[in-house]
Amino acid sequence: MIAVSTQDLGWKYAGRNNFAIEHVNLEIEENTFTSIVGPNEHGKTTLVSCIKGLIPNSFNGVWRGKVEIFGKDTREISAQTLANEIGFVFADPEAQFTSMTVEEELVFGLENIGLPLNEIKDRLEWVTNITLVSDLLDKPPYEISGGQKQRVAIASVLAMKPRIIILDEPTSMLDPLGKDFIFDILTNLKKEQDLTIIVIEHNIEQVAPLSDQIILMYKGNIAKMAPPATFFEDSEFLYEQGINPPMATTFLDQLKRNKLYDGGLPVNLDDAIRAAESLLKPNGYRKGTS
């Protein structure tokens, strides 16, 4: 089933001359991992805001085209339903906290929707494991680090069991350890049944190996949409659009251009090591295969 589709989607913020996004057509299959990449100010956040319904509900402007969530036009379903279906995690988690402890933060939404106590306990245990926050439960949200806050923000969104979760640059403000934690969580999320994941991310090296498809937004349009194995072909084009493929991928692409390698383009380090190794082993260089 298609989780998200847009048809000729366009949006112009009130007071602006140009459309922030225009003629956007995409389909996201349910239970897949989609990453959205591209330079700042080229429409990534506007696109996910349209999918989430923040646009047009909370903004003024001009809307064109259509967004469908599980086959339903978002303008024909209630804001409440849309909120239940789609969870949203911001780059700055600070804005989302209201409680005195992390645990209270996580159960707040669950109590609010009237879940029975045992169900609340089950969900708490489930999200705690996925988002690696068990050692934080009794801490006040304002006392934990930025990376820990981001984990709690993801946990509180996930606890509501949305069918789609959107994360807008979840790692951009974090240090390397904090980033690694978030990518571990994304890896866990990918294993969940019935969860469609959409991530806006600049860290291509870490997000590409997780992705089923990568969407490049450029000047408000989709400039490229492909699975990672083919997305990084034509690195010159990507570079012009402000995208650097992972360094190991760029290296193998360069070998390929010079007819020193003819296999597929790996997008993670382990695959790249294997590919390069096969060329370096004695007699590994298959002459004449170019």
Partner: protein, 282 residues
């Protein structure tokens, strides 16, 4: 690079008023016209040491000397601002005047320069930073982040410090914006002869631009050497949760085939690979 020492740090210990011991025992020298990266996990002491280098924080024991001036000396702070500049990670924490001109002029006015000299310095610093005079009367708030950052660097440059510390210049920026600010800093280093210190988590940026890396862990200097030497020691770097750039890690995994462990760029990797392959296939 010359051997002229600009900053001397000796047995520096610093703890915050709440008792957190941020720097345990740091000794290092900063020389003229170096391009340095301070790297390490959050909490490793990167920003604290930067603030000790510009006299914002004073050592509990040991000393920091800038041009032989001890930062704890009376009246030192006023002299240091003309020697070491510190650019905040978030330009919005630094910019507070209502025009770009006033922002850049603030420092020079504060040290009591006359208006003619102030004007000269504002124009010079703005010119170096690519801040056009036509926008001098605009409010910094309405500029793009990249331009706000250049205005905050200009306001530091107007003090004509030889050392400029920039805290996380590329955080939250996309690829093109990152290259733009880093090329600009490289220009200050190469053409203007400044010593540049960046505090950063972006290892590909470190590999591409800097010549020296100081890796900090738990308030100590874990590694201090050329960028190449430091990234060639992944096991030590792991103590502060830093990984060398991906291409360096690829090279290290292939070292048994004769690929050097201190590769920093894709081009270097390509060249080394072709040589290694020539050896194994012949």
């Amino acid at each position: 690079m010359t051997d002229e020492r600009l900053i001397e740090v000796s047995d520096l210990v610093f703890s915050y008023p709440d008792g957190t011991l941020a720097l345990r025992n740091i000794s290092l020298d900063i020389y003229a016209n170096q391009f340095i990266a301070f790297i390490g996990q959050n909490g490793s002491g990167k920003t604290t040491i930067a603030k000790c280098l510009n006299g914002l924080l004073k050592p509990n024991s040991g000393y920091v000397k800038i041009d032989n001036l001890d930062t704890r000396e009376k009246g030192a702070t006023k002299k240091i601002v003309t020697k070491v500049g510190y650019v905040f990670q978030n330009p919005d924490h630094q910019l507070f005047n209502n025009t770009i001109y006033k922002e850049i002029a603030y420092g020079p006015r504060n040290i009591g320069l006359d208006e003619k000299e102030v004007d000269e310095r504002v124009r010079e610093a703005a010119n170096v930073c690519g801040v056009e005079e036509s926008i001098f009367q605009e409010h910094p708030f309405f500029l793009t982040k990249g331009l706000r950052q250049r205005v905050s660097i200009a306001s530091i440059l107007a003090m004509r410090p030889r050392t400029i510390i920039v805290d996380e210049p590329t955080t939250g920026q996309d690829l093109r914006q990152s290259f733009e600010v880093m090329n600009f800093l490289r220009n200050l280093w190469e053409k203007e002869g400044h010593t540049i210190i960046i505090i950063t988590h972006e290892m590909p940026i470190v590999a591409q631009y800097t010549q020296r890396v100081v890796a900090l862990a738990k308030g100590n200097v874990l590694l201090d050497g050329t960028t190449r030497e430091v990234f060639a020691q992944p096991e030590l770097l792991a103590q502060t949760f830093v990984k060398p750039p991906q291409i360096t890690r690829l090279a290290q995994a292939l070292s048994k085939y004769g690929i050097p462990k201190d590769i920093l760029t894709v081009q270097e990797m390509y060249d080394a690979f072709v040589i290694a392959q020539g050896k194994t296939s012949s």
